[in-house]
Symmetry: C2
């Protein structure tokens, strides 16, 4: 596959988990065109809930949909993380200056970050020490209005491109409430909780049961004013810095004591 | 679907990402039978690299393969996380006392924890505040010898079942070197790094390119003697406590300064 060459401008790699046709993806690419060369590498269809999944058991393919100077668009049959890996290893002739994932149709706040394919791509970029940002709008609809996100997205991406002190090993999970006018933005942590009542149980025409994933988020700390859920409810965009290191280093002594190691 | 009823003994839920037929799963179920009632709910085939992926776009199905007193075995068409969710919401009549994932065929040390379906199931159990442990043997072969893992697996699961002070919100990622005799075990953090040279590029009989995921792990800190990779190389089983909270709370001030929020 021919490498994508880029100009002297910043190189911005964009992906998502809603698929190459999603409005949120097209919108963010438009928003960011003034900031640099854009390469969109996204799944060929929806990959919601794919987390950091990678495709190991089948071969990946890519299809170039647009190849203009400063703007390319490629789809793959893989996951969001596959899109980042293919970009880094096969497509790009240099490291991107910024990775953007989204804008997701629907919230990725609270515990949803664990399951989000949008944030899987951000984790992947962060592991490679590239500034990586996931954007999500709290509106699931295919025709959601992303225009109120525009200024925020451009402002944060501009700062990520220009900041000499952008922290490595941390990606950003940015959620934007579905409102024509933001009250502001808050840097905070993810509200802890879990999903509950998760299946709609049905019977098919042949008498066999099947189960659709559904459910609702149970926030364990609804009153905590340092969490994303709290501020989204109050009309603020939320910015949660997310670590790629899962190790709970503070608990090593506790487990040493319990396990006698 | 009929709920699985259990006795007065501890209830142990077992899953994996190698699929219901994998030797490592069968072996760990055998190891743990003396400790409690066993319910195995596992994918109907390999789901390696599925991370915390959930199935949102198609219905899930389950098939009961074994239904004995104190030992049930069910397969699903979902991911490891789906298996835990179906167990909690549909199959089990009470919360399990312990969730075990594995024994994985192949290491999940270092950064692999991010992609691992084995560890996705552990994350899911941990979000529900159930003691959850992933075991992996550093041998990919289908017929790997899991017998040297036996005493370690039983010892740690027994302690997880008996400890009144088992920390919530943290699951364990346990990797076991492929050796007939362990040098011991170490509680440590995950080695940080990334995967490199990730694709084998080929051309199909019709002249179209395709890409197989491959590559090797690049350890950023090979000399750090508080990491899992370090001790696995030296013949020790490694135990990494893993948090479900991805928030990098220590970096909130840094981003507040950069982003002016």
């Amino acid at each position: 596959m021919k490498k994508i060459t880029h100009s002297h401008r910043p190189l911005i790699l964009i992906t998502n988990d809603d698929g190459i046709q999603a409005k949120g993806l097209q919108q963010v690419a438009e928003f960011l065109k003034p900031l640099g060369d854009i390469v969109v590498v996204a799944p060929d269809g929806p990959r919601s809930g794919q987390s950091s999944a990678i495709t190991v058991a089948m071969p990946l393919r890519m299809k170039v949909l647009d190849e203009q100077k400063g703007f390319c668009r490629i789809c793959t049959n893989g996951t969001p993380v596959d899109c980042i890996k293919l970009s880094m290893n096969v497509l790009l002739d240099c490291r991107p200056d910024l990775i953007v994932s989204g804008i997701n149709h629907g919230s990725n706040s609270g515990v949803s970050v664990v399951y989000s394919g949008t944030m899987g791509a951000v984790t992947e970029g962060t592991l490679l020490h590239i500034p990586s940002i996931g954007f999500s709008l709290c509106n699931h609809k295919a025709d959601a209005d992303f225009s109120p996100c525009r200024d925020l997205v451009i402002d944060i991406c501009q700062k990520a491109l220009n900041s000499p002190a952008w922290p490595q090993c941390v990606g950003l999970n940015i959620n934007i409430p579905d409102t024509p006018r933001l009250n502001g933005m808050k840097i905070c942590r993810a509200a802890q909780g879990y999903w509950t009542e998760e299946y709609d149980c049905r019977v098919d025409p042949h008498g066999r049961e099947y189960f659709w994933l559904t459910g609702s988020f149970k926030n364990n700390e609804p009153d905590a004013d340092d969490t994303d859920e709290y501020w989204l409810d109050r009309g603020y965009a939320t910015i949660v810095p997310c670590s790629t290191d899962r190790s709970a280093s503070g608990l090593l002594p506790a487990f040493a004591s319990i396990l006698g190691a």
